[in-house]
Symmetry: D2
Subunit: 161 residues, 4 copies
């Protein structure tokens, strides 16, 4: 039952170190930016896309009142939204043309209150495969030029045509 | 290391069956509704509070364009938001006066595309304790008078003064 | 990114209520029992298989010293082992002939110390699909004729030939 | 509801980078080794303790038949056991004297089949706090002088006297 599956990563994909991921086609970044732009929910909360590299994506979110819960902190569910998206777009950077990765599940730990001016969610590939891809995300808050780690997430995605 | 802690539930709280949870004070429902109303993020996505009972809370979310991602389905992160909130408010129904439960972590499985007219997130207490409370949530989509189970979540909360 | 995938369940599989799951062939129970018997790790910790029904499997574990950690309680990792197995065998009850479900990931909450004479892990299907299956497990300890809920888990499996 | 709690880490503990964690007393390593030795379940599966540093612990497990499931791979639940323990002992390296961290919950992704001669689980602190501590673990298999990343886990612990 509990034999982990071979997720089918190729030799080129198998390196753990960031920076070793190989996109399947050169314009991968444009595909990521176009796909992000098509998601109304990301725009609705005010999220924007920052850095896009093979296996690494950053999403920025200003801490506006509309994303708050009652403690002047960003709502934990909103933090989950940008963490989930950062994982998904990190997976998309190395997806074959015409495929997408959709979220199967994610788990997020909220580490500290997200009180500040802006959030940064950084998504990274952990292991890509032909069917399933595993990614993680860390979320930081910037407040008065200081950075605090506010959340960490672990996500599974499935590749669909 | 791995000894699960005694979460300190009282005898009255220890029943697993829904309906056995005992609120600490009679106006628990009003506290839940007031607290929900203070969360800008919930209003921003269009979520409203439905049923509130001891250990059980329902949140409704119309499937408007603003909560979509690119497939006419509600964004998985938005589903996480209402699942997280449903767990948190389920915990609040039996919290002592003046305390709140804040999310430590949650894990959510997305089971099917959330395509339809409205979502319902139903949060339930699994185990309350003096420090930590465990809750779960199930999310359903309604489409043309049919119901589909689209997500299930498991969450840990900590009680703060 | 965050569109939950259609896990491809057939109409027959789509009922949520326990008892509605349909095995693919009549001798499903024997396949489950034979597969369990082939796992040295289950025997090594002393686990045995109890009830096997479509979508529902129970595993028993006596609380012997060999599965303890230092507090006279069963090790949290051992609780995870039987919860993971209960999910996997629940998935196997309705798997097509010749396929297996292997664990992609699981999350477990330990709710109370597992101190007593015996543990019971009850695994249930939540949603089967052609590729991915979601299952959950609850673990109980029996002590002096009383039952206590000690853990709850949520798991994703992938079907392999 | 979803305000992440301030986990109360002191300034000294707040650095994210490994190597910055400060033990509360000099003989922290001996406490970790003594505590590990008191856990029958770890000995029963053949696990031994390797490196112990502030915020970092390694556990070794030979791939013997007794920890296998039916595919010549180590059982996913056993991988969860050593990942859970590695997180717990990483937390113990910086725990105040006389306190222990017990597992609240963990989530583990199995990335590839654990087939080889030996497993290594490396646990790391992510964020310590006065009540809750978050840690992660990565598990690797060694086979014919090659290393493969087979699992990654994320865990929450609570500090008890």
């Amino acid at each position: 039952m509990s034999a982990p599956q071979d997720t089918g990563s190729t030799a080129a994909e198998r390196e753990d170190a960031p920076g070793h991921w190989k996109p399947h086609f050169p314009e991968y970044e444009q595909v990521v930016r176009d796909t992000f732009a098509e998601q109304p929910a990301m725009a609705h909360i005010g999220a924007t896309l920052g850095l896009v590299e093979p296996g690494l994506v950053e999403i920025h979110l200003p801490c506006t009142p509309q994303v708050m819960q009652q403690y002047d902190a960003v709502h934990g569910g909103v933090i989950g939204m940008i963490a989930d998206s950062a994982c998904g777009f990190a997976a998309l950077t190395i997806a074959p043309r015409g495929t997408i990765g959709v979220t199967v599940e994610y788990k997020i730990n909220l580490l500290a209150p997200a009180i500040g001016e802006e959030l940064l969610a950084r998504g990274r590939l952990i292991r890509p495969g032909t069917t399933l891809t595993i990614a993680s995300a860390d979320v930081y808050v910037f407040k008065e030029r200081r950075t605090r780690h506010v959340a960490t997430a672990l996500e599974t995605l499935i590749r669909l045509q």
